[in-house]
Symmetry: C2
Subunit: 501 residues, 2 copies
């Protein structure tokens, strides 16, 4: 790297340190912070956000950036250094367009809103949460206005999570996907095999669930020397360097799959971050390519691996060891069916693979409507329930399992949801590519040999970090742009067999 780029990197790593500190404060807020800490925490986050924003948007950073651009101009644009400078430019432009006060307002509000959300959800109290939700959308609209957009404000927000993605294209993707999902769901619900997919009855003591899920994600390749599993009301993964990437999960004493699949999902995220190259750590390259790419990893380990027939065979002895009396008589087929029960239901994170994307579609449409002014926040609960009825044929009895179920809007993650569906599609597309070069994959999974799979992901996705834009990464890894066909084929093949359709 040239000296100019080294200087830029140094400046950005200082800013990165502040952002990482803020990320730890957010992790703590969801894990160990006592309730009383919320107000002061919001101020701490606002301060860190303001300082990192000011440092990033400062004249000094521009100067270093321009110097680095100058010295990178003679380099191959696909070189590491040129890409680092391009990424830094994108991050800078984004930051500089957001006023400092808006940035710290967002940090403060998001901390306070998450606190209120947590308690309001528990009390099923939408009116208390509504003004915070209103403000979340208002702040998001201001962000979109500052960032700018051609067609609609949603695009500006989406672009933060998935570079170059457009709401109109997402809408087309869902329009393609939806009939397949609806049709498949209907067929499954009528299947004579329905009813053989019940959860394994518990109870499963929490301590033992914690121990066994840790053991399982460690066996996949999640490195606990550089990570940990803690408990949070809404599971997430958060990293403060590639050598400190933590997951959280949640437990239900009577339903083992809640913790198991939350852990698998978050470990999928975490292995991505643990696999980012050491030399990119705390630089503009040391991130996932996009949130869609991130979700492709979580959904791949959760679903393509974790809900496969092969994994059922691998994992069952471990679960039987942990829960001999509860799991002793369970067969791999029974476990496989219980992990793939397709059933229209209320909670996105608990949804099966078939109905899951309908939950995302609903959120995408609603947040797009609110942002463009076609729907009021006060009318969100009703609109939510109407769409649930329309897409899934069910109506939540309480807002806590309806419009208030997700932390995202409180946390300011508006425009994020579509990346879950992009991740689902990508996970199946990657899987298709892996199988081509590794025909032994099924047998490996059955034996619990995850290293070849993880190795492929490390090579094709993790080690590529943020060198490429999402589309370029997908084309490099799979030979084509994102294509819903693989996901649809995967679902049809799997569930036709499972439910004997």
């Amino acid at each position: 790297m040239t000296q100019a780029t080294e200087q830029l990197k140094k400046r950005l790593s200082t800013i990165g340190n502040i952002q990482r500190a803020a990320a730890l404060l957010e992790w703590d807020m969801q894990t160990y912070m006592p309730q009383g800490g919320a107000a002061a925490r919001a101020e701490q986050l606002a301060t860190l956000s303001e300082i990192s924003h000011d440092m990033f948007a400062s004249q000094e950073t521009v100067r270093l950036l321009e110097q680095a651009e100058q010295s990178a101009s003679s380099l191959d644009p696909s070189s590491e250094e040129a890409r680092l400078v391009q990424r830094a430019r994108r991050d800078y432009d984004h930051t500089a367009r957001i006023p400092t006060e808006l940035q710290s307002d967002i940090a403060r509000h998001s901390a306070l809103a998450q606190d209120v959300w947590q308690r309001a959800r528990a009390a099923n109290d939408f009116p208390t949460f509504a003004p915070y939700l209103e403000k979340s959308f208002d702040l998001a609209r201001q962000v979109a206005d500052n960032l700018g957009y051609t067609t609609e404000p949603y695009d500006a927000l989406l672009d933060m999570f998935e570079e170059d993605a457009k709401a109109a294209e997402i809408a087309i993707m869902f329009a393609d996907l939806k009939p397949h999902l609806v049709e498949l769901t209907k067929a499954i619900v009528k299947s004579p095999r329905k009813g053989q997919d019940a959860p394994i009855p518990g109870p499963f003591p929490i301590e033992a669930q914690n121990a066994v899920t840790k053991k399982i994600v460690a066996s996949l390749g999640y490195d606990f020397n550089r990570g940990s599993q803690d408990q949070a009301p809404h599971p997430f993964c958060s990293g403060f360097s590639r050598n400190d990437v933590r997951i959280t999960t949640r437990f239900n004493r009577d339903y083992l799959n809640m913790a198991l699949y939350a852990s698998l999902h978050e470990a999928g995220h975490a292995m991505y971050e643990q696999g980012l190259p050491e030399e990119y750590d705390n630089t503009p390259l040391g991130h996932a390519a996009s949130m869609g790419a991130h979700e492709s990893q979580s959904r791949l380990w959760e679903n393509l691996v974790g809900r496969s027939r092969q994994f059922a065979e691998y994992v069952l002895p471990t679960l039987k060891e942990a829960f001999p009396s509860q799991m002793g008589n369970v067969t791999p087929d029974q476990f496989y069916r219980s992990a793939n029960c397709v059933q229209p239901s209320f909670i996105r994170v608990e949804a099966d693979e078939v109905t899951y994307n309908l939950h995302v579609l609903l959120r995408f449409e609603l947040e797009r409507d609110v942002l463009s002014g076609n729907l009021k926040v006060a009318d969100l609960p009703e609109a939510w329930n109407a769409k649930m009825q329309e897409y899934l044929g069910v109506t939540p009895a309480a807002h806590s399992e309806g419009v208030m179920q997700d932390v995202h809007w409180a946390a300011g993650l508006i425009g994020y949801f579509p990346t879950y569906s992009l991740g689902n599609l990508l996970s199946a597309q990657l899987w298709n590519s892996i199988r081509k070069v590794n025909p032994d994959l099924d047998e490996q999974l059955r034996r619990g040999e995850f290293a070849p799979l993880l190795g492929w992901l490390r090579e094709k996705i993790h080690s590529r970090a943020r060198l490429l834009k999402p589309d370029a990464l997908i084309r490099e890894a799979t030979g084509e742009s994102l294509n819903a066909k693989y996901y649809v084929d995967y679902l049809k093949f799997k569930y036709t067999a499972l439910y004997e359709l």
Copy 2:
């Protein structure tokens, strides 16, 4: 408050937010951070330290400080506002004298050194730790040189923890104290009652220890809505606002008193911080008066309350409920004796009330010698063991239970140890004052009514925050300056009866 002071307060609260974020990063480092996180954490702490230091030492802060001093100059010097400005001046002067680079070096080094210490202590490996310890002392010496001192470098460090204290006076205090402690220890060891003070045999499952210690400290008045109890290799208390003050403890399956008295000690610290006035939060007044004052609270709850005959009667039913088979036949007298076993031993934090201050004396003398250049770090283990033999008549078999036992030197807390002894003396002096106005105290403790005691401490100590210098606070609360007599009398009275001397 005048507008000038409000502006100063706002600036300092921003700096306070950064320092609080750093404190959370340190808390995490001792509780939940995976091993791999240490290097990045050191950089994060160095950045936060540098930023808060630069903001504090900046022209802008001086300008606001001078404006506030101007507007406070017409006020009664004992008014809240005048005191706030005085405290801010002291903090500013201290900060401005330390160069930014030294400050961030200290933050980085202390994070790295604690990581090395933890592993080196576990492996009983002094040579690996030695260069870090060397650097800790070197940095402390630089701090002392920058802060300035009249007599010896130790004074400059001590003053950071205990305003106006001097090493020479501490030495005199210990010289007064030592013969009493040595004599009392000798008499006890020969007592026919020795041997009746054995620990209650376990095992005590960790989960149950955690639950019962939480229940007990909550009953004292520690507010879990504004706190939590987590686990750490070296118990500590850390606060990120008066509404988020956390304690840590540690467990030994076979020795319940380790966790019980660590929890009581840290809860004593935490109740102080939870009792600081809301309106001083995140201002120069919103701190303990000194570390000696802080330790007076922890040692008071740990010892004067927790190791009293009355507390034994109160707490035993709770412990019997948690551990029916282990504690079922234990009498209050037996529990009382087990909690007050006087025995020369290796570990300070496990030491009884009589020998405890000899452990502190040893550390005080050693760090004073190293700082003044009379002792090399390489010779510390030998010097440690020689003094252990001289003062306590025992020699640790391993450095892990000798010179490497405490986190303080790794964490850069050189000059801190004497505050434990100041705290011990003050705890007995406060106790004497409380008894005068509350003759019913013993009966209250027996019944588990801690509110009158906590109320007195809230009024005389906690609510006074950092309005007064340590000596003024002590005089206000007890009518005289710190006086070792109360502690010596307390020990003699208690242990003469207990061991029938």
